[in-house]
């Protein structure tokens, strides 16, 4: 059996629409202290944390080298510090790789994002597009995702009713999650009547602007017992990048997600996800993405997402019991939020929303427009 990496502890603050009165340093410090108190890990250069990985983004933080704003509060001074300016699940993969490679055996992984800081989220994501062919057209994640939504809804026979169901369920599930963003409950009718953002996406189909921070302590299999009695193991990780230009790819093919899933499952030695995995956390930036990513990881056949929602697939397979990204996590951190839910569930610490007997879980995340970059992690207890 191949080597495993342990997650020993996680810490987070509550997802919030606007933490204007807290600096991201404050937010991280809360998480940092949570990790310290759970694990008693030290910063001893022989036995403690020598490597810190942080996840943040320059544009959103309005400063370059965004990690420089908080390396002191996460204990990263006078030791190794690396920044992942990409989806946090890729950061988790990076932390895992540092340990599996033998480069280090204890890694502190922290991340933050305040979507409330910039005047407009869409202006930020517009900058993700190249300055010549795409940016002047005003492309951003919302309007580009809208085109993917149109194509996928057509292919998988997704209706307004399906999307409404996904949104209502996300908010309902999140209401049982004490760390979830507090949103007003909505009815299916509210969703179907909510204003169009970019056809066919409606306001309530899109995840709301959110501020959040988290921390995790990872270590090698050998050392896990020093920090916890209940480690959660990472047994598989893979990511895949699809073509950059929107017109280069089939927007509904799930190419990169299928590729990442296949490789992550192979690493984890899993043959049948429906049988072997009891919990799925998917990064649904918009409602249509929940059934679409479910197709991508192989929970449902291609093009059957609509019927799957009708048939209760989301509940049958315990998909996004946390409320999902759709209820509100900041961009970049949706993956970490998924991983943290898997952690609680596998440890049996998910309270009201506990999935009984969950032994394996899958977390997925995406970054870029229209699911360009995908990452998948398999957890096990």
């Amino acid at each position: 059996m191949q080597k495993r990496v342990a997650i020993c502890a996680v810490a987070q603050i509550k997802n919030d629409p606007n933490l204007w009165y807290a600096r991201f340093q404050n937010m991280l410090l809360e998480c940092f202290e949570g990790i310290m108190s759970q694990t008693n890990v030290t910063f001893d250069m022989e036995k403690g944390i020598r490597t810190v990985i942080t996840c943040s983004d320059d544009v959103w933080d309005a400063r370059t080298i965004s990690n420089n704003g908080m390396t002191d509060v996460v204990g990263a001074h006078f030791r190794g510090e690396e920044k992942m300016a990409q989806e946090s699940l890729n950061g988790l993969g990076y932390a895992m790789a540092s340990i599996l490679s033998g480069h280090d055996d204890v890694v502190l992984f922290m991340g933050h994002m305040k979507e409330s800081q910039p005047e407009s989220r869409n202006m930020c994501t517009n900058l993700a597009f190249d300055p010549f062919y795409c940016r002047p057209l005003g492309m951003d994640f919302v309007n580009v995702n809208a085109m993917q939504a149109r194509a996928y809804m057509e292919k998988a026979k997704i209706t307004e009713e399906h999307l409404a169901k996904v949104v209502v369920r996300a908010r309902k599930n999140a209401s049982k999650n004490p760390f979830a963003r507090e949103n007003d409950p909505v009815s299916e009718e509210d969703v179907m009547k909510s204003p169009l953002l970019a056809d066919p996406l409606r306001q309530l189909h899109y995840y709301p602007s959110t501020d959040w921070a988290f921390g995790m302590l990872l270590c090698s299999e050998e050392r896990a017992k020093e920090f916890t009695d209940k480690p959660v193991w990472i047994t598989g990780y893979a990511s895949c990048m699809d073509s950059y230009f929107l017109g280069d790819k089939d927007l509904t093919s799930n190419f990169s997600l299928k590729n990442a899933t296949e490789r992550a499952l192979k690493k984890a030695g899993i043959k049948d996800i429906k049988k072997d995995i009891q919990l799925f956390e998917l990064c649904d930036h918009a409602a249509y993405q929940l059934p679409m990513w479910a197709e991508g990881i192989g929970l449902v056949n291609d093009g059957y997402g609509g019927r799957w929602v009708d048939d209760g697939g989301m509940d049958e397979f315990n998909v996004n019991v946390s409320g999902g990204m759709l209820n509100g996590n900041p961009l970049l951190l949706g993956g970490a939020a998924r991983a943290i839910e898997c952690f609680y569930q596998l440890r049996g610490e998910a309270g009201e929303r506990q999935v009984k007997g969950a032994k394996r879980a899958l977390a997925q995340s995406t970054y870029g427009a229209a699911g360009q970059h995908q990452a998948v992690v398999i957890f096990e207890v």
Binding site: I13, K14, D16, L19, W20, Y21, A22, N26, M27, E30, V59, A62, S120, N122, M123, N126, P131, F132, Y133, C134, R135, P136, L137, G138, M139, D140, V142, N143, V144, A146, M147, R150, A151, P178, F179, P195, L196, L197, A198, D199, P200, L201, S243, F245, L246, G247, D248, L251
Partner: protein, 474 residues
């Protein structure tokens, strides 16, 4: 669970990230952009191994890693919509005010669709599979916006003038970019006719014709109907609710914006005359404030009165002041703010006044003139005088015309006949040629369309009108 922090005396730092930069487009990108800009050609690259034609072009085929950088192929400036969204939010990074259509368009000859803006169609009418064509920018932007946008493809008609001479396929004669643009513009001018609807003016009231708009909403409805009937532009004097012409910035902007909201495509041409008794400051500051695509620019101080046409009795005597200084200051303010002047010519002297001020060199080509007939204080419509004015115009000019009362339709017919454009609307005349009250300016637009059709000319779309008159779309 939420962070329980003290919120007293918290100071929020307001900042802004703004960094001018330059960016090398790459060798492949350089060829693409300069060819697009200078030759109005859209170039892709073809992979000789998998035969895929990539747009935007690139150096290497990502499927088989073949070096494709020199394998240029021209793709057609037309293709079909394969996916689209209607952007319904406004934001600073967006190139249009909402709602606008962003589409994935597969050009004929390319395998990979590109994203671009689709204009010239109501969002609810966009369909996947519809044929669209590129509308090239009239001035270079050095970005992908050198294709200004895409628009629905017009049905192809065989115009004799457009047939390729037999055996003429060979090297095209070398002409400069400017010459080519000019040629294209002249070609467009020769068949497209811009119909403008002057919706209200300053003096026509609801008791004369109930369709005269006063409120922003009424202006928007009336403009939309005119657009549907074939108008590319509306000329606007904003009104108060009681019908009085106004120089109030907010009211004028509300009126302008209401029209653009209801009918994003149409060109709004604002009056810089506004109404009787307005000061020069009141007349020009609203133009600078609203920045419409076009505005009227008056050329001479003249009587502008209301006289009984049958008896000669004077009802209102008014001197419409347009000094050389005003012609200069208003003209400069418009050019500096990207507002194209529509030069109002009430007689030959007015045109000569314009020529004098134009010596200063600030007017940009093409120039756009409106011959106004039948104002009490100006000249009555006479076909021979029309030809004198037309023949006196400088090069690179467009002209339209309008006439007060019964001179309206004879004047616009003559203009259409001799290659000019047409302005109708309740500002100039409350009736249709049968003598009945017009149901709205739009009914006069319908008449103008019929005149154009009978003379073998097609109404220009707003974008074609922009191309002809050299306007910058807002």
């Amino acid at each position: 669970m939420a962070l329980d922090y003290d919120r007293k005396d918290c100071f929020i730092v307001e900042g802004k990230l703004a960094l001018p930069y330059s960016y090398f487009a790459g060798r492949v990108g350089s060829t693409f952009i300069t060819t697009l800009r200078d030759k109005k050609k859209i170039m892709g690259v073809k992979c000789p191994v998998c035969n895929k034609v990539y747009l935007p072009p690139r150096q290497t085929c990502e499927r088989d890693l073949t070096d494709i950088r020199d394998n240029w192929v021209e793709v057609q400036p037309a293709g079909e919509v394969v996916n689209f969204t209607v952007v319904r939010y406004d934001d600073k990074h967006l190139p249009r005010k909402a709602p606008f259509v962003m589409a994935l368009i597969k050009l004929d000859g390319a395998d990979t669709p590109i994203v671009h803006i689709l204009d010239g169609i109501a969002p609810e009418e966009v369909k996947i599979g519809m044929k669209v064509e590129a509308v090239f920018s009239s001035s270079p932007t050095n970005t992908i916006l050198d294709i200004a946008h895409f628009a629905p493809k017009k049905p192809e008609k065989a115009f004799v003038s457009e047939r390729t001479p037999a055996g003429a396929k060979g090297e095209e004669p070398v002409i400069s970019q400017e010459e080519k643009l000019l040629k294209e513009r002249r070609k467009a001018m020769s068949k497209k006719v811009i119909i403008t609807a002057a919706l209200a003016g300053a003096a026509t009231m609801k008791n004369q014709n109930p369709s005269v708009p006063y409120t922003p909403q009424e202006f928007a409805e009336e403009a939309y109907k005119c657009y549907k009937a074939g108008a590319a532009m509306v000329h606007v004097h904003a009104r108060e609710d009681n019908g009085m012409p106004t120089h109030d910035h907010k009211r004028i902007k509300d009126t302008h914006d209401a029209i653009k909201e209801k009918c994003p495509d149409i060109i709004v041409n604002l009056s810089s005359a506004v109404g009787m008794g307005k000061t020069p400051e009141q007349r020009i500051s609203q133009i600078v404030y609203v920045k419409p695509e076009m505005a009227s620019l008056n050329t001479n101080t003249m009587n502008f009165s209301i006289i009984d046409r049958k008896t000669g009795k004077i009802f209102i005597d008014f001197v419409f002041e347009n000094t050389f200084t005003m012609l200069q200051d208003f003209g400069k303010a418009m050019e500096e703010n990207g507002v194209k002047p529509e030069v109002e010519v009430y007689d030959l002297g007015g045109l000569d006044n314009w020529f004098l001020i134009a010596k200063q060199g600030f007017f940009t080509k093409p120039y756009n003139f409106n011959f106004v007939w039948g104002v009490a204080g100006g000249m009555a419509f006479r076909p021979d005088m029309f030809m004198v004015l037309k023949n006196a115009l400088p090069e690179d000019s467009n002209f339209t015309t309008c006439g007060v009362g019964i001179e309206q339709f004879p004047a616009v017919t003559m203009s259409c006949l001799v290659g000019g454009h047409m302005r109708v609307g309740l500002e100039d005349n409350i009736r249709i040629p049968t003598g009945e009250l017009a149901k709205g300016s739009w009914e006069q637009v319908e008449w103008a369309v019929r005149i154009a059709e009978s003379l073998g000319r097609e109404p220009a779309t707003p974008d074609e009108a922009r191309e002809i008159m050299g306007l910058r779309k807002r």
